[in-house]
């Protein structure tokens, strides 16, 4: 007799817990070849707002943690991610239509990407900060600080490597994140939430909402308690007007990370390329402190 497997319920990840959507809605997620994989929660405006509240609540503690501590936690994320390698290979292969071997390469790159950002936490200030030789008897130093709560529209196609490539730089510097997952390929995002929940990452630092991007992105872009937004996920998202989102974001002068534009339309970048500092730099503020010198 064959054993019937026990399937997982894919839920949201908000404030360190895994609730279903408050809307009670779900949607069928299909593999690249059209087979049914699972029912994912269809997040709503209210779920996004709950996620922002959780992210704001977690900001003080996470931004105030030492960079060394944040690096340790991010490295722990990489360790736990590696431990779930087989599960991610299955999910990425099914969702993105990759061979197991190609999916393994993607998962390995995702682990290494988290390690790369784990190594950045205690170096950001050394690379982006400066001592300023002002013309006067003053000590004058500029240092980066996290900008706050960052909304992240995760890439639509690259459901794991793309996802960690946009989330890790946001939290490395001490921001907290509200992530809207890939709409068609949300399963690795939910599993990543399970990794984060067991990696000593404080609840609320990363919140993941599986949803239709076109439905919830405008609420996130317009939310007054969100300080910045990464529009990576507009590329390939059905019915999303990215210029409109940027205009909404202007309501409280959010910092906007625009999508890559080629031929006038947003495209997903090659996430396997070396990331550079672009995404860290986009979500930090520079604080300059003056202090007199003298007897």
């Amino acid at each position: 007799m064959t054993r019937l497997d026990v399937r997982k319920t894919y839920k949201l990840y908000i404030g360190g817990a895994f609730p279903r959507s408050e809307s009670g809605r779900s949607y069928a997620v299909q593999s690249a070849s059209g087979e049914f994989l699972a029912n994912a929660s269809m997040g709503s405006r209210k779920d996004v707002r709950d996620a922002v509240v959780a992210a704001r609540g977690a900001f003080g503690g996470w931004a105030g943690a030492t960079p060394y501590n944040r690096g340790q936690v991010l490295y722990r994320v990489a360790e736990v991610l590696e431990g779930r390698r087989a599960q991610f290979i299955d999910e990425v292969a099914a969702g993105e239509g990759l061979t197991a071997r190609a999916a393994a390469t993607v998962v390995d790159a995702a682990v290494d990407r988290v390690v790369w950002y784990a190594g950045w936490t205690d170096k950001i200030a050394q690379v982006l900060g400066s001592l300023n030789p002002v013309a006067g008897p003053y000590f004058n130093v500029s240092a980066p600080e996290p900008t706050g709560v960052v909304g992240v529209l995760a890439p639509q196609a690259s459901s794991l490597l793309g996802l960690v490539s946009v989330v890790a730089p946001v939290i490395a510097s001490g921001n907290t994140a509200v992530v809207v997952s890939s709409a068609l390929r949300p399963l690795p995002a939910v599993t990543l939430g399970e990794v984060l929940a067991t990696s000593d990452l404080p609840g609320g630092v990363v919140n993941i909402v599986t949803a239709q991007t076109a439905e919830v992105a405008p609420w996130l872009a317009a939310h007054r308690d969100v300080n910045a937004i990464d529009l990576a996920g507009v590329a390939g998202a059905e019915g999303v007007d990215w210029a409109g989102l940027e205009a909404e974001a202007a309501g409280n002068l959010k910092r906007v990370m625009r999508p890559r534009i080629e031929g006038g339309v947003p495209v997903e970048p090659d996430w396997t390329a070396a990331p550079g500092l672009e995404r860290i730099r986009a979500f930090v503020e520079t604080k300059t402190v003056w202090h007199p010198k003298g007897l």
């Binding site: 690096g71 490295y75 190594g119 170096k123 690379v127 003298g294």
Partner: protein, 489 residues
């Protein structure tokens, strides 16, 4: 009579297994022990193990293994993969931290609370920090834009006995992060934590030859730094030996960084928070029994608060617990060696002969082992040997000043320039003092703080080069194009 006493709270030494004899760690494996000498527990003079004395042929073998590793797999590895080895090492150090702490305390004599809470976690942090740099060197501004910074090749590292594992971490972590290979010689009297670290390299599956560890006395160190196939030297130790190394490599292509002695001034102004300053002064000189190159060994206190500060210091010193380093309540452990104890004794006697007044709290020292009580020398003049020479022991020389300018002049009146301390509530004065002090590290309203991200190293005869931070990486890379140096042998 003390109001209450402490019950003994000994840490268990059963967490660590010490072999009776040790060989060298060369090319990923331990060699057979040879020409052994004993390493002692300075707290009771018992023999912990016999370790081997490396001769010129052993040095040759270690350097050759390092060269092969550099030319082989390690040299071709990407920065990201190198970094992952360093992360592994950091994690294993964290996992085996109590084992290292106990071993370090047994071999060095320092209190278990220091090895457990400072030496070992900070060593792990150094590997963690440098692991992150391995694949980010192009961001460290080590070379002109577009020119790649390259490793030197084989690095010879000679470290002292005061922080055996931590100095190993300061040396090995940046060397590996930048792609060099290493031959490291721990101090003659404290080789055991380096030999245990060799096991960590094995557990991390570090490729053979990337880290080689040889033991021995000064002759081994000399043979290592003078070896013709060594590209770079990193030394921490005495100014005297540092000068010898600088002379020995003159006219060669070898690079060196030298982290040498110090005679730090700890300057206390009359507006300082005195109780907080007293804690800082005590930590500044009695941490690790004062066997610290950056120890705040000269207290410069403003004249009008001298009596208050000295009275409070005496009261505080009377509460320090001197004794069994394995006891979790111990503040001051054993002096590392007979030789060092003799040096401290001689210098303090010279200070008293020159007119300083000596004071120590009443304390019972163990009968076996090497011990020195916490000691204050007041009425010290700038010309006294105890004000100019590095004592490297639990001895604080107290001098006074009247004006900030006088404090600066006295603080800088030394051949050394490693560190300095400033105590005042006035922020602008702290920064003014920091500008005036000729020292590589200035602590304000704190003392003896160390962090992997923060460069450490001295001015003047305290050596050259920095360790830690972005600046610490510079010593381990060259930015001269390979075509000009004939490198990549």
């Amino acid at each position: 009579m003390p109001p209450f006493d402490y019950a003994p709270a000994p840490e268990s030494r059963s967490v660590v297994t010490i072999s009776p004899t040790y060989g060298f760690f060369i090319d990923g494996a331990f060699t057979r022990p040879k020409a052994t000498f004993a390493t002692l527990n300075p707290a009771d003079e018992s023999v912990l193990a016999e370790v081997s004395q490396a001769g010129p042929k052993d040095v040759d073998a270690a350097v050759a293994a390092a060269r092969r590793a550099f030319q082989g797999e390690w040299g071709r590895l990407s920065g990201a993969e190198r970094g992952k080895y360093l992360f592994r090492i950091a994690r294993i150090l964290q996992e085996r931290s109590r084992e290292f702490a106990v071993l370090e305390t047994l071999d060095n004599g320092k209190p278990i609370k220091e090895t457990r809470d400072f030496d070992v976690p900070t060593a792990a942090a150094h590997f963690f920090y440098h692991a992150g740099w391995a694949d980010k060197l192009e961001y460290a501004a080590l070379s002109a834009p577009g020119a790649a910074a390259r490793p030197h090749g084989v690095v010879a590292q000679v470290i002292p006995w005061n922080f055996p594992l931590l100095m190993l971490a300061w040396k090995i972590a940046p060397a590996l992060a930048t792609g060099n290979t290493v031959v490291l010689k721990p101090a003659e009297s404290t080789p055991l934590s380096a030999l245990l670290f060799a096991e960590v390299c094995q557990q991390a599956e570090l490729p053979p030859g990337v880290v080689n560890i040889i033991t021995g006395d000064g002759r081994t160190g000399q043979a290592l730094v003078e070896h013709p196939d060594v590209d770079k030297i990193a030394f921490t130790g005495s100014t005297e030996v540092g000068k010898t190394i600088a002379r020995a490599i003159a006219g060669t292509a070898k690079k060196a960084t030298l982290e040498l002695g110090g005679k730090a001034a700890n300057v206390v102004f009359d507006d300082a928070p005195i109780d907080q300053a007293v804690e800082g002064i005590v930590g500044g000189i009695f941490f690790n029994q004062g066997q610290v190159c950056c120890a705040g060994s000269r207290l410069l206190v403003q004249e009008n608060v001298h009596d208050e500060v000295v009275a409070k210091l005496k009261r505080r010193l009377a509460t320090l617990r001197v004794g069994d380093p394995m006891d979790k309540n111990t503040d001051l452990g054993a002096i590392n060696s007979r030789e060092q104890l003799d040096r401290i004794t001689t210098l303090v006697e010279a200070g008293v002969a020159e007119g300083a007044e000596r004071w120590s709290p009443a304390c019972t020292l163990p009968t076996k082992g090497y011990w020195y009580p916490p000691t204050l020398l007041t009425g010290v003049a700038q010309t006294h040997r105890v004000a100019t020479e590095e004592i490297f022991g639990p001895v604080l020389s107290v001098l006074t000043f009247r004006t900030p300018q006088e404090a600066v002049a006295k603080a800088n009146n030394t051949a050394y320039g490693l560190s300095a301390g400033v105590w005042t509530e006035k922020g602008s004065r702290i920064l003014w003092m920091a500008d005036q002090l000729r020292a590589g590290v200035v602590w304000a309203n704190t003392f003896n703080r160390f962090d992997p991200t923060s460069p450490f190293g001295g001015y003047k005869e305290s050596g050259y080069g920095r360790e830690g931070g972005r600046h610490g990486l510079e010593a381990y890379v060259t930015t001269t194009p390979a075509t000009l140096t004939g490198a990549t042998r």
